[in-house]
Each structure stands twice: as C-alpha cells, then as structure tokens.
Symmetry: C5
Subunit: 104 residues, 5 copies
C-alpha cells in the first residue's frame, strides 16, 4: 500500500454499469522526505481510487492497488485497481511523529 | 486507475481469437501539473487499452489496469491488462475545475 | 497493454516443466515520440514474452502483462507474466498513420 | 519480492472492517549499492505493508507484493497489496556478506 | 518476464510457515545495451526470487513476476511475487548471439 493525500475528485457519467454510485477520488502518493525522513512529501504522481470510507480533500489515506482493491465489501467484483482502505491518523518514523491528522 | 487522453487506435488482424471485435485504443496517462496542480498534463507514456464504451480521440477516460480489466461484461476472460471504465466529465482539485469535457 | 518490437529470442533448456515448447521472445516496448507524437520510438526497456502467434524479429506486437497473460488457449496456467496477443498492422494517432506493417 | 528496512508505523482508526488488528508498517525498499555491490542502500521509496511476523523498526524484512500478499494465514482475503513474509538474517553477494542482522 | 543475473542469496529464519525450505535468490534484472543492442547490461535494480531450479551465482535466469509466480509445482499457494522459471542458455538479438551460457 502507499500513503496518499486526497487532492480532488472525478465525475464520469458514462461508465461501466457496475461503477455507478462509487465515489472516485484523485489522490497523490506521498513518501518520506529523503534526507531527514522527518516529513511526508508529494511524489507528483496522480492516481484515481474508489473511496468507500467517505474521506475528503486534504485527508491522508491508505491506498491498496491491484486485484486486492476488490476485497472490500463495497468494491467486490468492480473493474478497479485502487481503493481507499483507511484514513491515516498518524505516521511515526523512528519514534518521531511525521504526520498527525489533528495537526494538519 | 489513472486518467488518460485517447490519442489514437491500433489495428491488429492476427491476434488471439477471443480479442476479435474489441476496439484497441492508444491512450496517454495524464497527471496533475506539479507546481500549481491547476491543470492536467501528459506523462509521455503510451498504453493500449480495450474500450467497451465507445470513446473517441481527444476524450479523457479512466483506465483500470491489471486483472480487474477483465471485470466488465464486455471483457470477461480476455487476455488484457487495461480497459476504459469511464469517460471523464470533469476533474476538480481543491474546489477548482481543472478539466471539464464541455470546455475542451 | 503496450506496443513492442520483437528484437530477439531466448533459449532456456532447464526450465519449469510446463514451459516446454513455448517460444520466448525478447521484446522492447515502444511509445509515441513525445514532441510531435508522429512516430513510435523505443523505450530502452527489455521484456521476455511468450508468443503463441508466430511473430518474427522486427514485428510490432501487442503485449499483455500480469495474470491475464494466462488467458490465451496456449498459455493457460503457465508461470508467465507477459504474452503476445496480437501482431500490429497499423497505429493511427490523430488521423495520422504513425506505423504501418507494410511500410516497415 | 524486495528487501526493505522497517522505518516506522501507521495508525488508521477509520478503515475497512477486515483490516482491524493488522499492524501497518512503513518500509523502505533497499537495493545493492550499484558500483561495488558490497552493501545495501536505500531507494528513497516508501511502502506500507501488513506485518504478521512482529518485526520492529530497523529490521530488514522481505516484502511480497500483489495478490500473493493475501497468501499468508493472517492476511487471507484482506484488501492489501504488500506483506512481510520474512525477517532477513543475512544477505550474501558473490560469497561476501553484505548484511547480517547481528552486525546491525 | 525479464532476464536477471543471480548475484546472491538471502537467509531468513523467521518467516511465514509455508516459505520454509524455499531458496531465496538475489537477482538483478538485465536489459539490452541501449545504443548497439549487442550485449546485456545490468539495470541496477534488486529483486528477491524463489528458485525451484537450483541455479547458482552468476547464472542468467528468467524471472516471472506477480500471481503467476505461484504457477509452478514447487511454489503453489506461496506468498511470493517472483520465481525463477528457466535458466538462460542463450539470447539472440537480430541474428547475433548477445549471451551464451558456455561463453560466460
């Protein structure tokens, strides 16, 4: 999985039938800042993921990719390759808090 | 998933039997422009995807990759790893419209 | 899927039993030339793919990756992650022919 | 699979129900130093993996990605794409020990 | 699949139970040298793969990734994403032998 920040959303009216009613988020993967590893920094990449958890813009989420994206109750048998499986509360690196939801 | 622009099409007469009749599109993944995140920009990569939705050149589409590409009614059991699952109407980033089908 | 040019072949006598008799091609993925998008250019990457279609060196082929590589009659249940699913006749980008088999 | 160093952990209270109770680690893939191949060096990438083995910060672990991440007793049917399958004791390259758990 | 050179091995005593007894190799993917395509050159990447074929350091092998890594008799249902499916005897590019096991 990877940590991503929710940056937006996508509207698609014409789509595969089974996709009706599933919210599509624009998410950007984050990684640890390479030098000091003291913060999360954006990777510049852009993914679209289905969100069964109701996360909003600015939230940091956990994204699962591949066939396992179909392994949540809401996404069974969907033609998708990425899903939000959790909202990140905090990330700790070597005893240091590099992200906390309450602070952001 | 990722957002891509339909840039062309591929013709292949000699192919695995089950692929007969399935339209093959050339698509180019797009990502958010890295500095201001105010527009979609091309990544320079090239993928071929099956299109069960009848999209045309210039359309922005949602591409699903991997085994889930076989999870639409039209692509069941096909030897494919990428499929169009939706036509993008609009993309919103932090309350701003960065793409709208009607404008393009 | 991606478009690739067949550049060579691999011989492997010691192999997993089920792989006996399956031709192994060296293929190089191609993408659209980034500036003018008027031709296909090599990516410099190297893949090995099983070929059930009898393509030869210099041919442009369509490669399917992942579990779907097992979804052709000849490759069912094989331990492979890439297969040739079609021989490319032509590629059109924005109404322009950027590759035609007869021309090459 | 790839070798990674455990650098931290993630807390996510709101998540897909089946994920409750599964520890989420932040891991960083390592590769062989390119010139002399005499040591393992960080790649700068960041992954989140489920850990059924109880590894701790600083441990070097083996990460399995994709659908196979669901093939351990503790991760069956989970919506995950990465799992710790082993704790690395030692890595030998051309008869030389480039990593030993006891030394680190 | 890709061609890789076996560069070493990994020992992991604490691991998922089903992994007991499976040899873990360190392998480095190779690709065609980009200018003249007359030789195989290292990519600098590092993968760990299960080896059911008994290959040794210095051997060039074929690696299958993803769920298909579970499709050999020795790796059925294992939590792995890469397996050796063949030992490379020779690689021919445009009628030229760019690798031969006997020469190396």
């Amino acid at each position: 999985m990877f940590i991503a920040r929710v940056t937006g959303s996508v509207v698609a009216t014409q789509k595969v039938g089974s996709m009706t009613g599933h919210k599509l988020l624009v998410v950007e993967p984050y990684r640890l800042e390479e030098k000091k590893r003291g913060s999360l920094v954006p990777t510049g990449r852009t993914f679209i993921a289905v969100d069964p958890l109701g996360s909003g813009e600015g939230d940091y989420v956990l994204i699962c990719q591949g066939s396992s994206a179909r392994l949540t109750p809401e996404t069974k048998d969907l033609p998708i390759d990425a899903v939000v499986i959790g909202l990140v509360d905090s990330v700790h690196i070597e005893k240091t808090n590099v992200y906390s939801r309450n602070d952001s």
